[in-house]
C-alpha cells in the first residue's frame, strides 16, 4: 500500500469495489457572463470504472474542460454554477466541504493541464512544487517530500532527476514540463488521473512520448485515466472508451474501437472525416491538371529561389541561428510544403521569403532577380506579388478596423483603383473566400476563427499575388474548420494558378496540400522531395521518427506503433 492511502482513511476503499471510480449524473454547468448565462455543460452523465480509461472528445467549446474541472469542482468560487451529481473515488464532489474536497484534489484524483509552461509556478523549483503538493496530502518531512519529488520525476523519465528537480520551470522544455506535471500528479498515487489536453501544446514526437508515458503508468499503477482531447488520433491509442461531446451534451459513447470504426452519429462521422490522414495521398481533386508545357516552363523558371538563406537573431554570444543555410525553389503554380517541429525555423524562413525579415546571408531570387537585399522603398512594387497568410487569426487582423478595410489596404496602397472600385473588388474577394460580401463593415471580433482565416486569405489575394506563404494557416483551428480552410486554399490555387508555400507542423495537413515537401529541423532542410516520396519512403532518420510519432485513428495500429516506438527507444 502506498503512503497516501495509509495515512488517509479512504472511504472508497471500504465502500467496496462495486462503486465506479467516477460517476457523473446530469451534470449542468452555467457561466454567468455580462451578456447572459452560458450553459457549457447540459445534463451530462457518464461513468468510469476503477482502472479504466475514458476519452472525452469534441470540438472546441463543447464543454470538455468544463466537465473535467467539475470532477474536482474547480468551478467552486469562480462564480460558475454547477448542478447534478459528481462522485469521484467515493466522494460527492459537488456536495463536499472544502476540507474534504481538498483531500480529494491531488490525493485521490489528480489533474494534468494543457499548457505545461503556465501550469507551474515560475518562482519555485520544480522539485519544491511537487514536494509542496505531496505534503498537503501526506504527513512527511520536508526532506522526505523532496525525496518523493525526485523519485516521481525520475519515474516520468526526467534524466538526472535529483539535480533537475532544483530547476525552475523555464529551464525545462515543453515536454519535460509536461512530464513534471505528470510527476506531480503521481506524487500521491491517485486513483484517477484527469488529463485535459495534455499534449495539445506539444510537438508530435513529444506528444507520442507523453502518451506512451501515460499508457505505461496506467499499466503499472492501475489508476483510472480521463483524457480530454480534441484530437481523435490521441484517443485512439490511449483509452478504452470514448465519449463524444457537442454543445455540452454527449452525442455518442462506447468502446473506442467501435466509435472510431463505426460511428453512429453524423457529428462523430464529420469529426472523423475532417481528421487529415498522414498516410492518405493528396486528394486528386486538388491537383491541378497541367499540360506538359506548363510543367516544363515551371521546372525551367522557378518563381522564387532561395540559395543558402540564413538568418540570425541576437548579438554576439547570444546569437540564435533560426535559419541556417536553406536552399529551396518554388515553381510557378506549385505548392511547397514545409514541415518541422516547433522552433525549427519555419516561420523565420517563411517571413524571409516574403521579405518581412531581412536575411542575414544568402540569396533570394524572385523571377531571377535578387531581392534579398532590397530596401523598403525598392520592395514596395514587389510587395503585391508576395503575400502571406498568418497563423494566428486573432493577431493577424487589426481589431480596430473593419475587415473590409483590412482587405482593401493593398488595393488602396497601390492607388490604382477608385474608392468605389476598391469596395467592389473587396466584396468580390469576400465572396470568393466564402464570406458574405455585406460583411465588409464588420469587425474581426464578430467572426469565428475559421472565418477570420478566410478574411486573411482574402487580404492576401487582394493584390493578385504570384506567391502566398501560408504560415500554419490552420493550426489554430479545430479539425472541421481546418478541413474547410485547406480545401479553400487548394481551390484558390487551382483557379488562380498561384504558387503556395504551406508551412505547418502537422504532417498530415502538409501532405494534403503539397506537391513537394521540405522537412526542417534546427534551421536546416533535412529532406526534400515530392510529397508522396517523402511520406511513403522517408530517407532521413528524423523524418522517419516524425512519421512514426503521428497518432493514428485505428486503435490496433496505434498499439503496434507504440510497440515499435518502444523498440526504437530501447535499441
Amino acid at each position: 500500500m502506498s503512503a497516501a492511502t495509509d495515512s488517509a482513511v479512504d472511504p472508497a476503499a471500504t465502500a467496496g469495489l462495486a462503486e465506479p471510480l467516477v460517476e457523473v449524473r446530469d451534470l449542468v454547468i452555467d457561466f454567468p457572463t455580462a451578456s447572459g448565462t452560458v450553459r457549457a455543460v447540459d445534463g451530462l452523465s457518464f461513468r468510469l470504472e476503477a482502472g479504466g480509461a475514458l476519452g472525452i472528445v469534441g470540438e472546441s467549446g463543447s464543454g470538455k474542460s468544463a466537465t473535467a474541472y467539475a470532477l474536482l469542482d474547480l468551478h467552486r468560487g469562480t462564480g460558475a454554477r454547477t448542478g447534478g451529481t459528481v462522485r469521484v473515488a467515493g466522494t460527492d464532489v459537488l456536495g463536499a466541504d472544502d476540507t474534504e474536497l481538498r483531500r480529494l484534489r491531488g490525493g485521490r484524483a489528480a489533474m494534468v493541464f494543457q499548457d505545461p509552461l503556465s501550469s507551474l509556478d515560475p518562482y519555485y523549483a520544480i522539485g519544491d512544487q511537487i514536494a509542496e503538493v505531496y505534503r498537503v496530502h501526506v504527513k512527511a518531512t520536508r526532506r522526505a517530500a523532496r525525496e518523493r519529488a525526485v523519485q516521481v520525476l525520475d519515474r516520468v523519465g526526467i534524466p538526472d532527476a535529483a539535480r533537475r528537480s532544483r530547476a525552475r520551470p523555464h529551464e525545462f522544455s515543453g515536454g519535460m514540463r509536461q512530464r513534471a506535471l505528470i510527476a506531480m500528479a503521481l506524487a500521491c498515487e491517485p486513483r484517477l488521473l484527469i488529463a485535459d489536453e495534455p499534449t495539445t501544446a506539444l510537438d508530435v514526437t513529444v506528444q507520442a512520448q507523453i502518451l506512451d508515458l501515460l499508457h505505461e503508468l496506467r499499466a503499472e499503477t492501475g489508476m483510472g485515466l480521463l483524457l480530454v482531447t480534441h484530437d481523435l488520433g490521441v484517443v485512439a491509442g490511449s483509452v478504452d472508451d470514448v465519449l463524444v461531446m457537442r454543445n455540452g451534451t454527449a452525442v455518442e459513447r462506447g468502446a473506442v474501437s467501435a466509435v472510431l470504426d463505426d460511428p453512429r452519429e453524423p457529428y462523430t462521422r464529420a469529426l472523423l472525416a475532417a481528421v487529415p490522414q498522414v498516410d492518405a495521398a493528396r486528394p486528386v481533386v486538388l491537383v491541378k491538371q497541367r499540360t506538359g508545357d506548363e510543367r516544363k516552363a515551371a521546372v525551367e523558371a522557378p518563381l522564387l529561389e532561395a540559395v543558402g538563406l540564413r538568418r540570425e537573431f541576437g548579438k554576439r554570444q547570444d546569437t540564435v541561428t533560426a535559419v541556417d543555410g536553406v536552399s529551396l525553389t518554388v515553381r510557378r503554380g506549385e505548392t511547397l510544403g514545409i514541415v518541422g517541429e516547433s522552433g525549427s525555423g519555419k516561420t523565420t524562413l517563411g517571413r524571409m521569403l516574403v521579405r518581412l525579415l531581412d536575411p542575414t546571408a544568402g540569396e533570394l531570387r524572385y523571377d531571377g532577380r535578387d531581392i534579398g537585399k532590397l530596401g523598403d522603398k525598392a520592395l514596395r512594387p514587389l510587395r503585391r506579388e508576395l503575400q502571406m497568410v498568418f497563423q494566428d487569426p486573432v493577431s493577424s487582423l487589426n481589431p480596430r478596423r473593419s475587415i473590409g478595410e483590412s482587405i482593401a489596404d493593398p488595393l488602396r496602397a497601390a492607388g490604382e483603383l477608385s474608392d468605389k472600385a476598391v469596395v467592389e473588388r473587396v466584396r468580390e474577394l469576400l465572396e470568393r473566400v466564402g464570406l458574405e460580401p455585406d460583411w465588409y463593415h464588420r469587425y474581426p471580433h464578430e467572426f469565428s476563427g475559421g472565418q477570420r482565416q478566410r478574411v486573411g486569405i482574402a487580404r492576401a489575394l487582394a493584390p493578385a499575388p504570384k506567391l502566398i506563404v501560408c504560415d500554419e494557416p490552420v493550426s489554430a483551428l479545430d479539425v472541421t474548420t481546418q478541413a474547410q480552410v485547406v480545401a479553400l486554399l487548394g481551390e484558390l490555387q487551382r483557379d488562380l494558378g498561384l504558387s503556395l508555400v504551406f508551412i505547418a507542423h502537422d504532417l498530415a495537413v502538409v501532405r494534403q496540400v503539397s506537391d513537394r515537401v521540405a522537412v526542417m529541423r534546427a534551421g536546416k532542410i533535412v529532406e526534400e522531395g515530392p510529397a508522396d516520396a517523402v511520406y511513403d519512403s522517408p530517407q532521413h532518420a528524423y523524418t522517419k521518427g516524425l512519421l512514426a510519432a503521428v497518432p493514428v485513428l485505428d486503435p490496433v495500429e496505434s498499439a503496434v506503433r507504440r510497440a515499435s516506438r518502444k523498440g526504437l527507444a530501447e535499441v
Binding site: 457561466f31 493541464f113 518581412l356 514596395r380 510587395r383 498568418f390 483590412s406 493593398p410 487580404r459
Partner: protein, 332 residues
C-alpha cells in the same frame, strides 16, 4: 514620487493591443454601469460648470475675488476673520480670507478655473509630446530610438516639480501664467506616456496585422496612422484620464510652493499654502480649498478608474478558470 509611476504601471495593463476593441457605445455602457464613475463624472461636470460660471456665481453672491474687506477681520489679532467658521455670512457664503477679508466663495470658484484649465492643458501637451516621441522612438531606427529613449529617461528621472520650478523662473513674467503652467507641466511630465506609447508600438509592431499591412505596401507613416494609432487610443485615453488628476496635483503643488499662478489670481494650492499657518486660528481657511482640491482629484481619479475598467477587455469576462487563451477566442 507622484501618481505618475502608478499610472504607468496601471495603464500598462490596459493595453493588450491585440484584444478586440470595445466600441465607443459599449465603453459608454460599461462606464455607466459603474456607480462610482457616474458619480465622478457628475462631480466633474459640476466642477466644469462652476469653473465656467465662476464670474456669474460671484456676481450672484455680489462679491469678487479681489475686494479687500478690512472691516471683516480683526486687525489687532493678525487679521483673523470676525465671526464663526471663517466669517460665514449672507454676504460671504463661505466666509472671508484672513488678513485681507477677500471673499472665499469667489476665490474658490475662480480657483476651479485655474485647476481645470491647467490640468487639462497640461494633459493635452503631454499627450501630444508623449505620443509623438513614443511613436517616433518605436518606429524610428535604432539611433532615433536610442536618442529619444535617453531623453525620455532624463524626463522621467527629473522630478517634474523640480524642472517646473526651474523653468518657471526662466520664462519672462509677461507670459500668461496658467498657459505657462500648462506648458511647463506638459513638457516636463510627458516621459512616462512616451515610454508607454513606445512599448505599445513595439509590441504592436510585432503583431501580424502590422506585417500584413507592410505586405500590402504601406509605408511607415501609413502604418502608424492606420494600424497603430487606433490601437493606441485606448491605452492613451486610459493614461490621460490618470494624468489629469496627477497634473492637478502638480499644479497645486507648484502653487503651494509659491510658484504657480500669480496673485491676485486665486488658485487652490496657493490658498492652501497661505492657509498652512492658519489651521488653528481659522480652520475654514484650510479646509475649504483642501476639500475642493480633494474632491476634484478624487472625481477625476474615480473616472479614470472607471474608464480603465470600461476599456479593459478583460473586464467583460471576470471569471477565469480553464484554458484562458482559448476562451478569449471563443468569446470574441
Amino acid at each position: 514620487m507622484t501618481t505618475q509611476d502608478l499610472t504607468a504601471v496601471e495603464a500598462g495593463a490596459a493595453g493588450n493591443p491585440a484584444a478586440p476593441a470595445p466600441g465607443a457605445r459599449q465603453v459608454w455602457r460599461r462606464l455607466r454601469a459603474q456607480r462610482a464613475a457616474v458619480a465622478g463624472t457628475a462631480v466633474i461636470a459640476l466642477l466644469v460648470l462652476v469653473a465656467l460660471a465662476a464670474p456669474l456665481l460671484s456676481a450672484i453672491e455680489g462679491q469678487n475675488t479681489t475686494a479687500y474687506h478690512p472691516e471683516l477681520v480683526d486687525s489687532a489679532s493678525g487679521g483673523v476673520p470676525l465671526g464663526s467658521f471663517g466669517g460665514i455670512s449672507g454676504d460671504h457664503w463661505l466666509g472671508v480670507e484672513p488678513g485681507t477679508g477677500r471673499d472665499m466663495f469667489s476665490r474658490l470658484v475662480h480657483g476651479a478655473q485655474i485647476s481645470l484649465a491647467v490640468a487639462l492643458g497640461a494633459t493635452l501637451v503631454q499627450i501630444l509630446v508623449g505620443v509623438g516621441t513614443g511613436l517616433a522612438a518605436g518606429l524610428g531606427n535604432r539611433f532615433v530610438d536610442n536618442l529619444l529613449s535617453r531623453v525620455t529617461d532624463v524626463m522621467i528621472t527629473m522630478p517634474a516639480l523640480v524642472f517646473a520650478i526651474a523653468l518657471m523662473a526662466v520664462v519672462p513674467d509677461s507670459f500668461p501664467r496658467p498657459l505657462l503652467l500648462a506648458l511647463i507641466i506638459g513638457f516636463v511630465a510627458w516621459g512616462s506616456i512616451s515610454k508607454l506609447v513606445r512599448a505599445q508600438v513595439l509590441s504592436l509592431k510585432s503583431l501580424d496585422y502590422v506585417a500584413a499591412s507592410r505586405l500590402a505596401g504601406s509605408g511607415t507613416w501609413r502604418i502608424a496612422r492606420r494600424e497603430l494609432l487606433p490601437s493606441l487610443v485606448a491605452p492613451v485615453i486610459t493614461y490621460a484620464a490618470l494624468l489629469i488628476p496627477a497634473n492637478m496635483v502638480i499644479e497645486s503643488g507648484l502653487s503651494f510652493l509659491g510658484i504657480g499662478v500669480k496673485p491676485p489670481t486665486p488658485s487652490w494650492g496657493q490658498m492652501l499654502s497661505s492657509a498652512n499657518t492658519w489651521y488653528e486660528a481659522d480652520p475654514a481657511y484650510v479646509l475649504l480649498p483642501a476639500a475642493m482640491l480633494f474632491i476634484s482629484v478624487l472625481a477625476f481619479t474615480v473616472l479614470a478608474d472607471g474608464i480603465r475598467t470600461a476599456l479593459d477587455p478583460r473586464a467583460a469576462s471576470r471569471l477565469r478558470i480553464g484554458t484562458g487563451r482559448k476562451r478569449e477566442e471563443a468569446a470574441s
